[in-house]
Structure formats: C-alpha cells, structure tokens
C-alpha cells in the first residue's frame, strides 16, 4: 500500500503554513501525527496533492494551566497527554481514554489536534472534549478564533475548521473541587475503535447533588454526540440509581448508531446505557474522592 504522489511542504512558521493552505486550497492537507491521514493515503482513500507538515512549527506542543484553564497545544501527542501530571491532577479521564486509543506506537505519533480535526465520530477525544466542555482554537490568516466544542463537529469527517485554518489549541476549564471524570469504551480487541464509548465529567456537592455535568458519546452517532437529555436527567439532582438509569436510557434513545461488524443498532444502544451508568458512577466516585 503506497500513497499517490504529492508535494511535501514543511513550513517553519504558522504564517507560512497558512499561506501554503491558502495557496493550494482544497488540494492541500495538513499533516500532524499522520496516523489517520497516512493510512488513508496508503489506501488511496485520500489523495491530496500537497501535504503541509506542521510538525516543524515550534510552539504547538504544550500542556499548561493558565488562569483556570488548561491549554493543550494541538501537536501534543497522545503519549504526552497520557503521561501529563497536570492532566492527571485535573482530569483522570485522560488516563482512561489514552490507554484505549490505538496502541503505544500510534500514541507516540497521533496528536490531540489531529484526533479532533479528523472529525471522525469513531475517534475517542471528541466525546471526551464534549464531556469536558472544551473550546477549540482555530488559527487562520485573520488570527485566532474560539470554537466551543459543541459547535465543532459538523458531519462525516467535517468540522467547523475552514480550509485555511489550523487547529492550534484546546482549552479546558479547570473544574472545581468535587469534580470527577471517567471514560470507557467497549472494543472488540485492544486498539480497536469503539463499539460504543462514553465520557462523563461531573461535579457533586456534599449532599451528592450533581452541580455540573458533561456526557459525550463515541461512535454511536454520525457525528460525535453530547448526551444533553442525559445530562439534564442528573443536573441539579441527586446521583442515585434512579436518575442514573434515566440518564442511561436517554443516551441510548438519543444516539443514532448504525449496525456494523461491532454489533446491531440495538446492541449499541444498550451498551451506551450500560456505559453511561458505569461512567457516571465512576466519575461520581472520583468526584467524591473515593
């Protein structure tokens, strides 16, 4: 399997990269970790004429906290996210999710920016970002703009990014004390894309009442899905089995999975319900410091 011929550009600055994108228009594609793009090029599902490799642009890989926001540079590799102490401190969900993304070698290359920009509902980060209510920073010739994650995913492999924009940063609000997060996906074997995946972040007060919640679903909808009704079933309520069951039921009703080799539509809906239940419980346990 060998890609079709293309021209390769390796700009050293953002400005150069954006200029190249503008110059080549739809014929150009950005190359980050390359672990979604190059496989598609090898199969000749993707045949760009120009590859704009942004790996040589300095300053796109970092994980830092600034004024109540954690900022992750788009070129941060999965392996860096997996081992980041800062992320571990605020978001146990990242350790859950990265372990389940592909395998160690892929995680050494794949970037969080690429994972989101790819716009694939089978990828795991979109659901996580929804649960965390992240904001995506896109940079173009006119500067940067913020895109709330809920407005980021459009359709199959399409996002709110414009052709001449580069995803440069992900911003996540640092949650208050009493917050916990968790992710799990069912997979046919390790490294597989999800049969169904559920990301949850929630905040509880001393009485076990849910003060804030985000729930994102992986690979059970044409585009990454935020389980809004499920969130509402718990928001402001005590996290008990009854409310959790309702949240689980809503998620399984609101997603729109398609039958494939991983299972029937019915199975996937059922799995969404099971996972919502389990991840809410796990996130709640973590929130309460258990």
């Amino acid at each position: 399997m060998i890609p079709q011929s293309f021209q390769y550009e390796s700009p050293g600055t953002m400005a150069d990269a954006i200029a190249l994108l503008e110059k080549h228009g739809d014929e150009a594609k950005i190359l980050s970790g390359g672990h979604s793009l190059i496989p598609m090029m090898k199969l000749r599902f993707a045949t760009p004429e120009y590859l704009i490799d942004i790996n040589g642009i300095p300053g796109l890989s970092y994980i830092r906290e600034e004024k109540g926001t954690v900022k992750i540079g788009a070129l941060s590799r999965e392996a860096e996210i997996e081992h980041s102490d800062l992320l571990k401190k605020h978001f146990p969900i990242f350790a859950d999710v990265t372990k389940l993304i592909a395998d160690p070698q892929v995680r050494n290359r794949g970037t969080i920016g690429g994972n989101l920009a790819h716009g694939d509902a089978a990828n795991d980060h979109p659901a996580v970002m929804m649960a965390l209510q992240a904001t995506v920073i896109a940079t173009g010739s006119g500067g940067s703009r913020s895109i709330p994650i809920d407005e980021f995913f459009f359709g199959f492999y399409t996002t709110a990014l414009k052709q001449n924009e580069i995803l440069t940063e992900i911003q996540i609000p640092v949650p208050p004390a009493g917050t916990g997060s968790a992710y799990h996906k069912l997979e046919r074997k390790v490294g597989d894309y999800a049969t169904a995946g559920v990301a949850v972040q929630l905040t509880v007060d001393g009485k076990g009442v849910c003060k804030a919640i985000g729930i994102g679903l992986t690979n059970v909808n044409p585009i990454p899905l935020r389980a809004v009704r499920s969130e509402q079933a718990l928001l402001g309520k005590v996290i008990n089995s009854e409310n959790i069951a309702l949240a689980a039921q809503f998620a399984s009703e609101d997603c729109n999975p398609s039958a494939d080799l991983r299972g029937s539509e019915e199975y996937k809906r059922a799995m969404v319900a099971v996972l919502v239940k389990r991840m809410v419980l796990k996130a709640a346990e973590r929130a309460m410091g258990k």
Binding site: L31, M41, K42, L51, A102, P104, V106, V190
Partner: protein, 167 residues
Amino acid sequence: MNKVITVTVNGVQQVLEVEPRTLLVHMIREILNLTGTHIGCDTSSCGACTILLDGKSVKSCTILAVQANGKSITTIEGISTEGELNPIQEGFKENHGLHCGFCTPGMIMRITELLKDNPDPTEEEIRWGISGNLCRCTGYNNIVKAVLYASAKMRGVPTASTEPEFV
C-alpha cells in the same frame, strides 16, 4: 519533487534523496538495505515495522521518510553489535520469545522504549505495552517472560529461571 533529507541511522548520518511519498519503512528496507525492519500489514495494525524515531517507538509504515529529516532512527540492526545480544535480545533467546522471528525486530524495538519508560513493568503493563505488535506464533507468554527477564537483567537483579514451567 524529490527531497533531500539528512537522517542519522543507527548512529551514522546519511544524506538521502527520496520521493515525498516514500514510507519510512521503505526507505529503511529498500534504500538503506536494513531488512530487519519488517512489513506485516497495510493498516498500521501489526507493529512489525516498529523502529525508534528520536528514541520513541513508532510504526515506520505510517511515517513518511521526509518526516525523519533531521531526526535519528534506530533499527534492530543498531541496538547491539553483531555477536552480542543486548538484554532484551538475550531475554528472547533464553525464554523462547520467538518462533518465526518475523514480528521479533518490531517487538524488540517496542520493548526497548517500554523498558526505558518503565524499567520494572508488571505482566499486565507488558501486555498492554506490546499491544501494538502482533505475533502469530508465540502466544505471547514467552515474550512477556522475555521482557521480565530483560527488565531484571537491566536493573541488575537476578533473572528468573528460563526453564519452561509446567503445571
């Protein structure tokens, strides 16, 4: 348009001209004739092509040769001198960690990084750590054993018996 790249391969700097689409694994195998790095799939699934790129284990079938420009590469041929086995290679030999040997170079390159990051891994950590490398022959038991052996050896603690254990 071909590109001229500079790559340090197993400690030796090389200047090469490649097509942009040349996969790193093809550069290694066909241009540099380092055939110890293998190809087992076309979907980045098997790990037979694993090498170290600036010390990180990567699947060289999913990286372009031009992306290695200015970087250093280590392949199976570069981890020990001929006639000697490093502790990981030794672990494989002593514990029968290979049958046909086709997955072995990729496994060893992956394990090289695994043990650098985690010098004393549990069995579970080893299994997850090599989950990007398929082996069709060994059933993995003895690969895990080989890694435990190498880990002990590298940490300077006594290695477990390499005799097969039977119930």
